[in-house]
Amino acid sequence: MVERRRGLDLLAYAILSLGVVLVALPLYATFVASTQSLDQILKVPMSLVPGSELVANYTAVLTSGSGRTASAPVGHMMLVSLVVALVVPAGKIVISLLSAFAIVYFRFPGRMFFFWMIFITLMLPVEVRIVPTYAVIARLDLLNTYAGLTIPLVASATATFLFRQFFMTIPDELAEAARIDGAGPMRFFWDIIVPLSRTNMAALFVILFIYGWNQYLWPLLITTDESMYTVVIGIRRMIAGGDAATEWNLVMATAMLAMLPPALVVLLMQKWFVKGLVETEK
């Protein structure tokens, strides 16, 4: 530990305050912009005092979107985003739990081969395999559907690897004790493995919820129908190019709304999240 000294304390606070300002200022500017009318926002310099249009702006985006660029209501977009952000982590967790369970607890031919196959896909992020994935989804006629939005994002080597590492720290004797108690493999999975993985699952859920919510490139490619826009895509579509003026106040309101759910998830799951990262119940 570093010795406690007044000067050092002050320095630490100064650095931390600087960090807070750096992170918070853009957020504050976004918030202020979302409370002003379009005229106010276009003034130079922009006022940093909240305006009077808060309720009007937010009601406008939630119910009808940005009128000039003819986009869908943000309320609906958030619903689509929510579905994606829930289905992706849920699917990832279920599939990775099961595949990690198979890899760790079953001795089948090709076990290591499959593990390495899964592991190697870690090197291929969505962006790299996006063209073939698009082709597959298009052929399957899944463009502009929830299935098309979520399924390609569900497969996860990272989560499989994470659970594998966790399972390998569970003492073998636990599996043997369960075997002597008469628990079959799936019973062992449900009664022992799943409860022990709870904190890991929670931590993973938080990370993956944000990952799902913030997806940009993939939804941008496969959604052409306004009713399937996620909120992140919605913001992109609201920013008009060419002659039409962008309603920045509405864009900023949408951005605020888009930031809300991930922040909520982190706040509400914070306890579990930290637990899952630092502690294992063994």
């Binding site: 004797e173 043997e176 004790a177 075997r179 002597i180 628990a183 022992i192």
Partner: protein, 360 residues
């Protein structure tokens, strides 16, 4: 409750033969301790009885049933692991009840059994706790409780006390003994601790490198070790072994380097034969120069309060056998030669090549 028969059992992992032909008949209600150094295959043998390891060849029968191909749950056994292997997310009660729940027993039945086991093990006040809120000894008792509630025909213990501190180990040892007297269930108990083996066993199986060295009651193993391995493994400090040739018409053991041991009783039949002479440290006693059987040079002395351990060596130039003696009399001399004798019934003779006991 049941008898257990182990018939010429072998186990190999690939090319490595871990267990090379072990046979033993275990009577109903017997407490058997399998003892041996690390890696001798004792745990593997226990796990084969449990059904956690396959049997390469040979047969294991519990009761009248050959169990070679039965799943652990169908063998009617219960096992206690070294690290307890309690389910960390379940309460003590649920840990004990889990196996019974899987057997789909009625709630009332489960409750009676768990409460009774908890009472026997003095866990009644702790039933709602999680394993991590328990001390080592309490966890150990929960692991035993989990075994008891199943009312198995055989208990299997795999070094159950080695994670406990010394004091607790002594206490749990006596609790285990009490438990066995109360339940009279056939018990197989694996340990590398010879004190546990001596105090708990009705009969013990001493193993070395996958083979049986000796099977017998603890005192029998102590007083008539079947081989130099057993002689060295059971007893602390281990038995002194002095190599040499019987001479002088069976009255003397001598070897190079001026080592001479006078035998308390003559063995004329062995005259001229090479042997290993064994005598336990606690059977050596200080005596007059005239009646001494051997005169080791003292190297150092450990004072234990109740008695003293004297370490020395025979012969000149430190080339002879090292000797340990546990003496009850206080030793004044710290240096020089200490005259020691031993009684005829405490002398053991082994063949130096095979290590087996020479029957007299």
């Amino acid at each position: 409750m049941a008898r257990v028969s182990i018939r010429n059992v072998h186990k190999s992992f690939g090319a490595v033969n871990v267990i090379q032909g072990i046979s033993m008949e275990i009577g109903d209600g017997e407490f058997i301790v399998m003892v041996g150094p690390s890696g001798c295959g004792k745990s593997t043998l226990l796990r084969m009885v449990a059904g956690l390891e396959t049997i390469t060849s040979g047969e294991i029968a519990i009761g009248e049933r050959v169990v070679n191909n039965l799943e652990p749950k169908d063998r009617n056994i219960a096992m206690v692991f070294q690290n307890y292997a309690l389910y960390p997310h379940m309460s003590v009660y649920d840990n004990m009840a889990y196996g019974l729940k899987i057997q789909k027993r009625s709630k009332a039945d489960i409750d009676t059994r768990v409460q009774r086991a908890a009472e026997i093990l003095e866990l009644s006040a702790l039933l709602a706790r999680r394993p991590r809120e328990l001390s080592g000894g309490q966890r150990q008792r929960v692991a035993m409780g989990r075994a008891i509630v199943r009312e198995p025909s055989v208990f299997l213990f795999d070094e159950p006390l080695s994670n406990l501190d010394a004091k607790l180990r002594v206490q749990m040892r006596s609790e285990l003994q009490e438990l066995h007297q109360r339940l009279r269930t056939t018990t197989l108990y694996v340990t590398h601790d010879q004190v546990e083996a001596m105090t708990l066993a009705q009969r013990m199986l001493v193993m070395n490198a996958g083979r049986t060295e000796q099977i017998g009651a603890p005192l029998e193993v102590y007083s008539r070790p079947a081989s130099t391995f057993v002689a060295g493994f059971i007893g602390s400090p281990p038995m002194n072994l002095i190599a040499g040739r019987i001479a002088d018409g069976g009255r003397l053991l001598s070897s190079d380097g001026d080592v001479h041991v006078r035998l308390p009783s003559p063995h004329a039949d062995l005259d001229g034969r090479k042997v290993l002479l064994g005598v336990r440290p606690e059977h050596l006693e200080a005596c007059e120069e005239s009646s001494a059987a051997l005169r080791p040079d003292i190297d150092f002395i450990e004072l234990l309060g109740s008695d003293s351990l004297v370490y020395g060596h025979l012969g000149a130039d430190r080339r002879g056998a090292r000797i340990a003696a546990r003496l009850h009399t206080s030793v004044v001399a710290r240096q020089g030669r200490l005259p020691l004798r031993f009684a005829a019934e405490h002398m053991h003779l082994f063949d130096p090549d095979s290590g087996k006991r020479l029957e007299e």
